[in-house]
């Protein structure tokens, strides 16, 4: 009984403090201008067309989209810029573009093509000053720093190249540093949880959320609707990102938002 009351009080409080909603963000992996992971949308005319998929997600109530480009050819920038233009033309919600962005020039061309935000990862670790330069030139609001980390002997360590390459940088030190350098948001992916569908890294997320005063996007581990509720309440995340649960229609965005609302989590419906 006591626990129940405490819980209600804290969620009530949390709603009174502000009306900003928690965001649900589908992530699309892109290669050569096409979506990479299989998608299970019977209503798609072209299963590999990221623009069509983006429009569907926008109509279903996604709050934002992330496009992660994994193209490794010389044509990559050109195809990515074309994609960004097409998305901006059709989609009426904000979107972030990430993957291989390493210079002020890269960011400028993507923002000018219609991207709302860019996300940088390895390039920021290799050259932290890039964060200051980008925030100074374009404003913190459009600079997302993506951090991939996993636990090594109980310590959260930053990894590069999709978790393959370890560094000697501690997650929480790096998060604090990117905030100080002007990042507007942190997209934290737990490599220990990514792909498991066992839930987000809520303990690390909650610590992160208290540590810095910029929004935290939780990534890695989404499997059920309860996992989203947990990451917003226990993980104190401001937004949650997922890919396959949405692409394979294991979770419908509208159902997810209704479920979150039932759990007193503020969402846009």
């Amino acid at each position: 009984m006591f626990l129940q009351n405490t819980f209600n009080f804290s969620t009530f409080n949390f709603q009174l403090r502000n009306m900003l909603t928690k965001r649900i963000i589908p992530c699309l992996d892109i290669k050569n201008g096409r979506t990479v992971k299989g998608v299970n949308f019977v209503d798609l005319r072209d299963a590999g067309d990221p623009v069509e998929l983006a429009e569907i997600y926008a109509n279903e109530g996604a709050d934002e989209l992330v496009f992660l480009d994994i193209t490794a050819t010389e044509q990559r920038r050109k195809t990515l810029v074309e994609l960004v233009m097409h998305v901006a033309e059709k989609v009426n919600i904000p979107f972030t573009v990430g993957g291989g962005i390493s210079s002020v020039e890269d960011v400028e061309i993507l923002l000018n093509s219609g991207a709302d935000k860019v996300s940088i990862n390895s390039s920021a670790v290799k050259n932290p000053q890039l964060i200051n330069e980008l925030a100074g030139k374009f404003g913190s609001q459009c600079i997302v720093v993506a951090i991939d980390a996993k636990q090594i002997e109980g310590e959260w360590m930053v990894h590069l190249v999709g978790g393959k390459v370890p560094t000697d940088i501690k997650l929480f030190d790096w998060a604090k540093e990117v905030e100080q350098r002007g990042a507007g948001e942190i997209l934290f992916t737990s490599m220990d949880h990514d792909g498991t569908k066992n839930g987000f890294a809520n303990e690390a997320l909650a610590y992160l959320s208290e540590l810095v005063n910029i929004p935290i996007i939780a990534s890695g581990g989404a499997g059920t609707m309860q996992h989203f509720t947990d990451t917003f309440i226990e993980g104190k995340a401001d937004a949650a990102l997922a890919a396959s649960v949405f692409h394979f229609k294991e979770i419908e965005i509208i159902d997810l938002k209704n479920e979150l609302k039932r759990n007193n989590i503020p969402v846009r419906l």
């Binding site: 909603t21 709302d116 609001q141």
Partner: protein, 193 residues
């Protein structure tokens, strides 16, 4: 209808142009004084840092033009902030169209505010057909305190003015071009003023 989006180097203007296109209109990007004066509707965008945006505006000479416009003008995000008396960001002097000052959120909430929040106390034809407490997409660290020119309010730790109007000048802190169907309706309302 001639629609001009002021192009002075600050902002994601492509998105606004596309949003207007989705409504069936064509907008021109321009920094030419004659084109701006001859437009039926003028949109004044802006994202980024206030003092550098103001510098770019001054370099184009448009800081003298905008306050003298007679047709409906819509400032979006930083565009709206620059239409105020001053911005705390970069200690910037604004265009003085709206009689208010833009100040920074304190750290009781996360800054920047990023995401979808509600607009309420709607008081303008700009919001025709828009429900009270409709969600809009916002990204900002600085805000306009409540004042007599407010035509919408939003709450983020404190209640603040998320849209302003004075005569033919309108300003919105949120991004209608990124705010789904309701945002599109607000842009349409502006074009039909």
């Amino acid at each position: 209808m001639k629609i001009v989006i002021i192009n002075y180097g600050a902002g994601n203007i492509q998105s606004i142009k596309f949003a207007i296109q989705r409504l069936g209109y064509e907008a021109v990007l321009s920094h030419d004084e004659v084109a701006i004066r001859n437009a039926d509707k003028v949109i004044f965008p802006g994202v980024g840092e206030a003092s550098s945006a103001m510098e770019m505006l001054k370099a184009s000479g448009l800081d003298k033009v905008i306050p003298t416009l007679k047709q409906p003008v819509l400032g979006i995000c930083l565009g709206m902030q620059l239409m105020c008396n001053s911005c705390e960001e970069g200690d910037t002097q604004g265009l003085g169209i709206f009689d208010c000052d833009v100040i920074k959120f304190d750290n009781s909430e996360k800054v920047p505010q990023i995401g979808w929040n509600q607009i309420e106390n709607l008081k303008s034809d700009l919001f025709k057909g828009i429900n009270d407490k409709e969600y809009m997409y916002l990204v900002h660290s600085f805000y306009v305190p409540l004042n007599d020119e407010a035509i919408a309010t939003t709450e983020y730790g404190i209640k603040y003015a998320s849209a302003l109007q004075k005569d033919n000048f309108y300003g919105v802190q949120f991004h209608p071009e990124k705010s789904s169907k309701a945002g599109a309706q607000i842009l349409q309302n502006f074009l039909e003023l």
